[in-house]
């Protein structure tokens, strides 16, 4: 559906995107992550045909964005960062214009405008001037124009900036609803958002790809073994000894006492893998007559993965320089 091969974009001496390659199948939602200035917007602008790459190739639905720009752009709905709109127009009038600019006839434009206004919840604002809308509503108009014409691919640059928490949930569920039918690339630096909406993640830093894959795989792969967090009641030293003897546990650390439970301690266990180890730990603790209050697997958060990846890459880049 979307294929990016060895994409490079230079602005004078600076390399904004450096031999970036990734691909995305139909119906998948890709979270495009990276620190500010990593080249996310540049990549999106290339995909939407605003400027061509310095080298490399980008295909949308099999159409090269440089060779067949019209066919490629017909398949894309784009919502740029900051959502530039014609502020002197009314919402409905603006969407009719977008329909015409996308090559729809008058009747279809009107139908589509009605449909997308309904989808993003701005039907009541149809006759308002865009400049009078709040940031959240402008954002919705931006999303509406991207959806207009029902393109199979959506490219959304920071789509939830400017929304309040309630609206964010709404827009996220709207985007999640596209899973399976539309191919979506969504850039963001709000990581929980990506975790909540996306099936795939691409992380770039300084224009280069540092990680790509399904979110779960990315988390697991970056962990270097798993860990468990347990809250136990009993003598601390005896518990430590007991836990160390459980097969599959590589390390035990007492991380503090519980503020709510008298005589209870948190332990973090470094383990080989989840599942069996957790069961064995529970068994051992209960068999020894101690209290097991809490047991939960700890997986690296996307933040940790992100920080690890982007800073690692940064450091190695610095070394190379």
């Amino acid at each position: 559906m979307i294929e990016v091969r060895e994409l490079t974009k230079r602005f004078g001496a600076t390399v904004a995107v450096d031999r970036l390659s990734f691909s995305l199948d139909q119906g998948e939602i890709l979270g495009f992550l990276g620190p500010n200035g990593a080249g996310k917007t540049t990549t999106m602008r290339i995909l939407t045909g605003f400027f061509p790459p310095s080298s490399g190739q980008a295909l949308i639905n099999g159409h090269d964005v440089v060779e067949e720009p019209k066919a490629a752009r017909r398949a894309v709905g784009y919502m740029p960062e900051n959502v530039p709109l014609y502020s002197e127009m009314r919402v409905e009038e603006y969407l009719y214009f977008v329909g015409g600019a996308k090559g729809l006839d008058r009747g279809l434009s009107r139908k589509e405008a009605g449909r997308v206004m309904e989808a993003v919840g701005i039907s009541k604002r149809a006759h308002q001037l865009i400049k009078q809308l709040s940031k959240g509503y402008r954002q919705r108009v931006g999303l509406a124009q991207a959806l207009l014409g029902d393109p199979p691919v959506l490219i959304l640059d920071e789509p939830t900036i400017g929304f309040d928490p309630g609206q964010i949930v709404e827009i996220r569920s709207l985007i999640k609803g596209f899973a399976g039918t539309k191919t979506v690339i969504l850039s963001s630096h709000i990581l929980p958002e990506v975790a909540a909406t996306c099936s795939q993640v691409v992380i770039i830093t300084q224009g280069r790809l540092v990680a790509e894959g399904p979110i779960e795989l990315l988390r697991a792969g970056r962990q270097g073994g798993a860990s468990l967090k347990v809250l136990l009641q009993g003598p601390q030293e005896a518990l430590t000894r007991l836990l160390q003897e459980v097969p599959g546990v590589d390390g035990v650390a007492c991380t503090g006492t519980s503020p709510h439970l008298e005589g209870a301690c948190y332990f973090t266990l470094e383990t080989e893998a989840h599942g069996q180890v957790a069961a064995r730990v529970a068994q051992a603790v209960v068999a020894a007559g101690h209290g097991l209050m809490e047991l939960s697997p700890v997986s690296a958060s996307l933040e940790e993965v992100f920080m690890q990846l982007t800073t690692e890459e940064h450091a190695s880049g610095e070394e190379a320089a």
């Binding site: 605003f50 740029p80 127009m89 090559g103």
Partner: protein, 255 residues
């Protein structure tokens, strides 16, 4: 074609939803109205004198009133056009809407043509508004309708040339003021460069006259058409529309 129409309609709406079109139109009508009043007063006075002394001069409406009025209109258009065209592409570049516009499946040609025809339509409307004066005059005296039509055709061609040039300067920058001044100065020079012809070597003089907007317009206020002038204006418009498209394209590659 649909994209062209969508852009044309949006540009027209942008002119008439904002005060721009009205301000320019009112200023234009005030100026041309004043020139019309002054011209007619002078012509009335002159015809009184000629009645008393028929040998003084040969007076006719086209040469001594209408031609002058039309030349005045053409000069005012020269100043009005860049004010109308400066926003066409510069504003979209500055506000970022160009990025979104160019992500739609439309050609640069339809963008440029839509904007060109919108600004040209506004100028056409301004020119058409001066027909109020013509009709007033028609109550008082029979008018040379055919030569008037030729003069107005020339005005529209010239307006098209101004718009095409202004659109091009608007494509070069994201600053509207720069776009306007870059529109005025070369147009004024191109307008007047023919005047220098008698002062330089004949070959150079011919070249200057050949390039000059003013020289090629000269015939129209008299009601005269020369195919060379027609070709000049058509080529002028075509050249700067072509350059606008190329600039739009080049800015992508350089971006």
């Amino acid at each position: 074609m649909r994209a062209f129409l969508a852009i044309y309609r949006r540009e027209m709406a942008a002119y008439f939803h904002s005060p721009v079109a009205y301000v320019v139109l009112v200023a234009f009508l005030l100026l041309t109205g004043y020139f019309f009043y002054a011209g007619v007063s002078f012509y009335t006075l002159a015809s009184l004198q000629v009645m008393q002394n028929p040998m003084m001069m040969e007076l006719n409406l086209q040469d001594h009133l209408l031609g002058g009025l039309i030349s005045n209109v053409s000069v005012i258009l020269l100043f009005a056009a860049p004010l109308l065209t400066m926003r066409l592409l510069a504003e979209e570049r500055k506000s970022g809407t160009l990025e979104l516009l160019l992500s739609y499946p439309l050609s640069d040609l339809s963008v440029v043509m839509g904007k060109f025809f919108a600004a040209w339509s506004v100028l056409t409307l301004m020119v058409a508004a001066t027909w109020v004066q013509i009709f007033l005059l028609a109550f008082m005296t029979p008018l040379p309708w055919l030569s008037l039509a030729v003069s107005y055709g020339g005005l529209l061609l010239m307006a098209g040339a101004f718009v095409a040039f202004g659109l091009w300067t608007s494509s070069l920058t994201e600053n509207q003021i720069v776009a306007a001044f870059a529109g005025f100065l070369p147009l004024i020079i191109l307008w007047a460069v023919g005047w220098a012809a008698p002062l330089v070597k004949p070959a150079l003089g011919e070249l200057l006259k050949g390039l000059s907007l003013g020289t090629h317009f000269q015939g129209f206020p008299k009601g005269l058409v020369d195919t060379a002038d027609l070709v000049y204006f058509v080529l002028f418009i075509g050249l700067f529309l072509f350059l606008s498209i190329r600039t739009l394209e080049a800015k992508r590659w350089k971006a």
